[in-house]
């Protein structure tokens, strides 16, 4: 087992690989870093994490930020011992991004979950149909978006 890396060293090493593809970078806390990239570049960023043992997708968070939806891929890097959150923002009017399930197959169900609950389209995702929501749930209604209120169920 490796001893791991410091957060600042990790960000430096990642910057040398990704250059100006990184729009924002920050240290969230001990063993936690976050970087923001453009949609599309998220696949390059996730590939770059493999050099640090970044093969484990812990989860994918989709967040309704008002005008946009933020998609955060949380990847545990086994060698660096750092959880790197790769973020990309897509417009809420047409939330669409390429899948990463071909790069890391274990991310498939997390993408399917975010598609069900936030209406994000993951282009190339092999899992079809709904994962979480019932099949008689109406199309185009996404319960984790901020404009959806639980009163709707009453």
């Amino acid at each position: 087992m490796s001893a791991g890396m410091g957060e600042a060293d990790f960000l430096e090493a990642l910057k040398s690989k990704l250059g100006d593809k990184i729009l924002r970078a920050s240290v969230m806390g001990p063993r936690r870093v976050a970087i923001t990239v453009k949609p599309g570049d998220h696949r390059i960023a996730i590939e770059a994490l493999k050099a640090f043992g970044g093969s484990h997708v812990s989860t994918i968070t989709g967040t309704d930020m008002g005008e946009s939806i933020e998609i955060a891929y949380h990847v545990w890097c086994y060698q660096a011992k750092i959880e790197a959150s790769i973020k990309a923002e897509v417009p809420k009017s047409s939330p669409s991004i390429e899948t990463i399930s071909d790069l890391i197959p274990g991310s498939m169900l997390y993408e399917a979950e975010a598609r069900d609950l936030l209406g994000i389209e993951f282009k190339g995702l092999p899992y079809e149909g709904r994962l979480i929501l019932p099949e008689d749930w109406p199309e185009g209604v996404y319960p984790l978006r901020k404009d959806w209120k639980p009163d709707w169920l009453r």
């Binding site: 969230m28 812990s58 968070t61 086994y78 274990g106 709904r130 979480i132 019932p134 319960p143 959806w148």
Partner: protein, 387 residues
Amino acid sequence: MTTTDLIIGPQHPALHEPERFVLKLDGEYVVDVVPRIGYVHRGIEKAAELRSYIQDVYLIERICGICNVAHSLVYVQTVEALQGFEIPPRAAYLRTVVHELNRIHSHLLLLGVVGELFGFDTLFMYLWRDRELVMDVVESITGNRLISAFNVLGGVARDVGPSQISEAKRAMEYLRRRMKFYKKVFAEDPTVEKRSKGVGILKPSSALSLCAVGPVIRGSGIKTDVRADDPYAAYGEIPFNVITYDTNDSWARFMVRVDEVFESIGIIEYALDRLPDGPIRARFPRRVREGEAFGRVEAPRGELVDHIISKGGDKPYRFKCRTPTLANILAACEMMRGGQIADVPVSLSSIDPCFACEDRLAIIDVSKGERYSARIRDLMAKYGASR
């Protein structure tokens, strides 16, 4: 190739919880598996966004009845990280003790259920009898057998006294003796061997690429454990071993849990012997500053994560939780592929499934090569009367 569909679930595919798997069979052999989750999805992420940080402690603890301590622990740790808040050292040790007691009861519960699945009911009864002893210790320390709201923002809810410590240590001594016996049973008994050795193979490369967690990935020989790699609570100060087995089968995953109980006993004894003095709780603010935090703990079933985004105020803007069973579903499907139908329950139980998720129905029309979803009432209208 023509295959037959066999639907396992949604009622009780392994433990007493709903989940559905569509198995594509060639005779007795499983060719492919399609999982569909969601029967018990309760919308807790949305509910957490509508409640205050303090109310959420009690909500999130109820995500899972078995590993409730892991859920409340990862939540309070993530909120504390968001605020940059340090808890008193005594609280960190007490959280560790209760987290490990929770792991022991969860592992004994699963190993007992596995005994029942093997047709070895005596083992089930023995294991669950000894599990009661752990529940008594949990009750004496936290005030309740399961849901106890022991972890609170800023520390823990109750302190322990000398009589509780000596009671807990006596129980651990007894349990260590019993676990030596159970380890012998799991390692040598022919029933266990015939039902679990070579069953549900998960190669290390598959375990890694499918992002498996906990005893599942450790049963494929990969040495990873959040407690060791990303220490929290008091784990940075307590020595313990990360258990791995490298036979990649259901037996390895059960043995990892058997050995982990010994490690948990050691952690509890070590922590109780070195409990720091001082307060058990510090005052935590009602409103949390803007920012985000990502928390991880090693729950009994593996890595459990929470991601919380705050825009200031007393409620989280976004609460995201990923339970270890969801991470292990794809690995479970991989274990079933190539095996026999009769091995499906053993493979599935070897991930110790805890379905805090939800499922409906997926249909595969093999003759046309199509897959689609349908409502049960539509199917009943189509097929119900004639069958």
